[in-house]
């Protein structure tokens, strides 16, 4: 018997929220709840582990491959356990024109990881346009968005409280 994916409390929370989400879709289209279900799981566990994908697939009455296929298609779902903080830096054109490449290099030095790599603490990635081109450069730390990062002080302030 595999270990349970969630603690009993988390399981209850997950199931009740999923039940609510399922009311939004046609009764024969349970699998439409795939993205919300994966997102909920990731909010609880920090990633989408294989046993979690199996659980979601079971609840939505699809094959486990389908859950894996969806989870691996979207960059925001982690099918491998990431570091504690996922740092996404936009290096698309508008941000690069306003210093994003320099900011990324600064972060590589500051965090001690190269873009595209990670350790237990950080996963540093180049992200695509985050709709902050007018307030560039920008980055997200675990989905918290920060923009107007025109100075080192502003970047340092974001990381000051992350241990």
């Amino acid at each position: 018997m595999a270990d349970p994916v969630f603690s009993p409390d988390d399981q209850k929370l997950f199931d009740s929220r999923l039940a609510d989400i399922l009311t939004r879709y046609p009764a024969d289209r349970k699998s439409a709840a795939m993205l919300p279900a994966l997102r909920m799981m990731q909010e609880i566990l920090g990633w989408c582990p294989p046993e979690g994908l199996r659980l979601v697939a079971e609840r939505l009455e699809v094959k486990p491959e389908r859950a894996y296929e969806v989870a691996s298609f979207y960059v925001m779902f982690h099918t491998e356990k990431p570091g504690k903080y996922v740092v996404d830096v936009c290096t698309n054109l508008s941000c690069s024109l306003r210093g994003a490449e320099g900011m990324l290099a600064y972060l590589e030095r500051k965090l001690g990881v190269k873009a595209g790599h990670g350790n237990e603490q950080w996963l540093l990635r180049e992200a695509e346009c985050l709709a902050s081109c007018g307030t560039a450069p920008c980055l997200q730390v675990n989905e918290d968005h920060h923009e107007n990062l025109t100075t080192r002080e502003k970047v340092d302030a974001i990381f000051a409280n992350l241990g």
Binding site: V70, N92, G99, S132, C133
Partner: protein, 440 residues
Amino acid sequence: MTVAPAPAVQTVISEAWGQPNSHLISEYKKRGGYKALEKALAMEPTAITDEIKRSNLRGRGGAGFPTGLKWSFVPKDNPKPKYLAVNGDESEPGTFKDRYILEYDPHLMLEGIAIACKAIGAHKAYVYLRGEFKFQAERVDAAIKEAYEAGVFGESVLGSGFKLDCYLVRGAGAYICGEETGLIESIEGKKGWPAVVGLFGCPTVVNNVETLASVPPIMNKGAAWFAGLGTDKSGGTRLVCLSGTVNRPGVYEVSMDTTIDQLIHDPKYGQGMPAGRKVKAVIPGGSSAPVLTADETDVALEFEALKMKQTMAGSGGVVVMDDTTCMVRALWRVTRFYAEESCGQCTPCREGMPWMTRLLRKIEEGLGEPEDLEILMNVAASIAPFPPIGLGNTICALGDAGALPVQSFVMKFKHEFEQHIAEKRCPHGDHPWGHFGDWA
């Protein structure tokens, strides 16, 4: 998370931006909110659609398709349920306008949604926001709750007997889900591979956030007023997103006759270029729109005028590049995006985008060979023809979106590409781009 700064010029759509609590239904109603919906509920659905047709409203998501015409295609005698899918994916590089609507005035969009649903006979609307929009999703979620409490959504919209539910769906990071059939696949809980059937196999209208936010003002003030704000073929004002190397980037609501030059230099908008810099190139409609040279910027930011220049108004993303910009590196950044975001279904797009990206990287690093430019153009041509004539050789327009920048950059700035190859280095010196910020 802070709300983005409000721009200086505000008219039809951006009227409330920056006002305190503009996102709450109480404030929205003080501004006359949900009056347009009351009016629409008393009308025949076809009369609503006709009004939108007469307003000359064209889609603001990228393709500029006439909105009233799109609504009129929904079959009336089809017994299947009908759906409205709202496109808040906002992922075209250089585009950041819909987020301001979501942040400052979500009820304007929700009212537009309710009116659109009444017009097309849909009883369910799904608002799809890109996954990275966490704060915006919170705002929309709260606004939907308020709207249910106020009877805007539910069993009987404002007591009219019309039933309507509205749900928020969040994406998870994939540009292709902004393409309308990819969007539908994603709402259905799949990976966003473009296909051709409606949501849950039913008739579905997909509209952009700004498009729907334009609907309540049209119902309030009339189609003639809205049409009168625009050109012969395109009604209303437009949100344009100014970014890149200008003094004051931001979203500005402009009339359709505003030119790129005005947008860059006018004190109301971009306030000119940084000291000592000149414009070198401008992308006028999101990164997939063919680039314009500095000599071509005296052109209105409007669908037809930009089409005449063999480019497009697209999503309203205007990206300015100054005279210190390396065009090879800029294009590499753009092309890399389309390579990353190709869904992989069509061979020319799946293979061609990474190939072009590698070639550009090679040229930028000073390793380019003379024949590389021809290869680059051939690969681009195998994906889509230039100038744009509609869909190229791929299932969806992402193929065109990735090929057109390559063709236009290389054609218009060929000497720079050749210089990289001849000198075996980037003539602009070492990157990262250092014009802004002090990161060394």
